[in-house]
Amino acid sequence: MTTFSGTALCLDRADINTDEIIPARYLTEIDKNVLGPHLMEDLDLAGFDPQKDLAGINVLVTRENFGCGSSREHAPWALEANGIRVVIAESFARIFYQNMFNCGMLAITLDTKQIDRLCNAAGPSPVHISVDVDAGEITATAGPDTWTIPFTLSGFEKALVKAGGWVEYADQNY
């Protein structure tokens, strides 16, 4: 069973781009972990403070076209360096989406209604999310409320998550 779980943060904006996830000025880093402190430091979102708001977060919930822009895998790496291995969005840019699975991470597409519920649920305590990849089910908990959301991944995406990435899979098969 492949599961991911943790505390979720809603970034309530569409078209969050790769420059906002990790600015190009840090692409001079060869070591992925050095990217960690710079995650989303240029994000254009009212009231957002990356240092404070991203602390302890494991799951991002966001809107349309997340990860548009550059092909840089530094974007998923910067997330991973901060303990974030799941992004749930209304839609993703192609390269970012593939990069997530290539790294053995999880990008899940949900409809607007489900995203609305996740974004609006956070009250005094944050939303906790648990993802069961095999069952194709997200369990969300906010205060006393718990609800489940089904999602679908293709066979390829599941295989990459299970294998922990694309390199070993490809080297074995091609």
Partner: protein, 430 residues
């Protein structure tokens, strides 16, 4: 059922279909630069897989930060350089011979209609101008490409964008692609290939088609493909003349990749550009596009002419035509970066460099430089750039900076005016 260009290329290159909807394709080219490749190299070394599938099909360049600006970027260059030597990569372009990847690789004749090309760079879609399926990928896909010469793609649907009418003087390919992105939005072609066609594209030079294809990714597209034709053959002829008895034979061969008349498209846009005016962006998204005249008078601190979108000799000619014999505004810093060593050399021979320097431009060596705020030409917070580049994201050319995307003609006119301005090449200026 007929096929699109991408479908024909997929059929030609299919290695496997491991899962429903996923095709593993054989790669004709893997392009590399010093920003995204060193991490792939290091990971391959760490995994004990320091191999390359074919040193002739892998091409590498140091282009994003060149000359190196500090110890870190020097190390990135060194990792790529050492790897290229270790594996006898046939074509590796270091300082002095280098240039912006998507300008350099076509110029060296590395692209053919029907090719499948990947690179760890989102603007790899530029090479679609030649009728290739060329896509930007992340470092892991790049790593597998280097190691095995394959890449997995979900079969993309094709969006056909037909461009007809007549471009007015002073309106260019850059304005056309900004109009396309304005219409279909920044995710209008996500997981799709754009096929650009119609008489306006047919009449475009390869340089202009590259400008068009280059920004396909700004609408989310996997690739932006133009139909190979006599213009494509003519551009490639110096590189293929030993492969074909004559140009007609090359054209006949390339025609294999034309879409069938009954090809099935996921969508279609038809754009009449007869009334199109010069355009510029106004926000942090490439689909926030307005006529230049609506933005006239907007303060600009720096003008940048260059990049994989508009740093080719055709672009420099247009910009030089606007600035010839004039001086840039006192309040402006203007930078021109010829995209490759060859473009620089031609610009010298043609007298363009002198025109730019006499006007007050700073001329840099070929590099991606200012475009993504990594190297020379970074903005200070609160500063505004008018640039011929492809991306206006928040902080793109420097934290707190604003970038307005435009054609070389508009950028040159803006350098002279000191604020956003239409070029005198555009007849209907206000």
């Amino acid at each position: 059922m007929g096929k699109t260009i991408a479908e024909k290329i997929f059929d030609d290159h299919r290695v496997d279909q491991p899962f429903d909807g996923v095709t593993v394709l054989r790669l004709d080219r893997v392009f590399c630069h010093e920003i995204t490749t060193p991490t792939a190299i290091q990971d391959l070394v760490a995994r004990g897989k320091d191999r390359v599938f074919d040193p002739d099909k892998i091409k590498a360049v140091i282009d994003h930060v060149t000359p190196a600006k500090d110890a870190k970027t020097a190390l990135q260059g060194k990792v790529l350089r050492d790897w290229a030597r270790r594996h006898k990569i046939t074509d590796f372009f270091d300082i002095g011979r280098n240039g912006v990847c998507h300008a350099l690789f076509p110029e060296k004749g590395f692209v053919r209609p029907g090719f499948v090309i990947i690179m760890g760079d989102s603007h790899t879609c530029t090479h679609g101008a030649f009728g290739a399926f060329a896509a930007g990928v992340g470092t892991t896909d790049l790593e597998v490409g280097i190691l095995k010469g394959v890449c997995a793609f979900k079969k993309p649907d094709t969006l056909k964008i037909e461009i007809f009418g007549h471009l007015q003087p002073g309106v260019f390919a850059k304005d056309v692609i900004l109009e396309v992105i304005r219409r279909i939005t920044v995710n209008g072609a996500t997981n799709q290939v754009i096929e650009f066609c119609g008489p306006v594209v047919d009449a475009m030079s390869m340089e202009s088609r590259m400008t068009l294809s280059n920004m396909a990714v700004e609408a989310g597209a996997t690739s932006g493909i133009c139909r190979p034709d006599a213009v494509t053959v003519e551009y490639l002829w110096p590189f293929i003349k030993d492969e074909y008895p004559d140009r007609d034979a090359a054209l006949a061969d390339f025609s294999r990749y034309l879409p069938d008349d009954d090809a099935v498209y996921a969508g279609q846009e038809t754009i009449d550009v007869t009334d199109l005016v010069p355009l510029t962006t106004f926000g942090y998204k490439p689909d926030q596009v307005k006529p230049v005249s609506d933005m006239a008078g907007t303060r600009v601190d720096q003008v940048y002419i260059g990049s994989c979108t508009n740093g080719r000799i055709e672009d420099l000619w247009v910009a030089a035509q606007v600035v010839k014999g004039k001086k840039i505004a006192e309040t402006i810093r203007a930078i021109v970066s010829p995209a490759t060593a060859d473009v620089f050399s031609k610009a010298m021979d043609d007298g363009l460099i002198k025109i730019f320097m006499d006007a007050g431009f700073c001329v840099t060596n070929p590099t991606c430089g200012a475009c993504l705020g990594m190297s020379n030409g970074v903005l200070a917070s609160g500063e505004v750039a008018a640039a011929t580049t492809n991306r206006n994201f928040n902080g793109r050319m420097g934290k707190g900076g604003m970038v307005h995307l435009m054609s070389p003609a508009t950028a040159a006119a803006t350098a002279l005016a000191g604020t956003i301005a239409n070029s005198p090449l555009f007849a209907q200026q206000d």
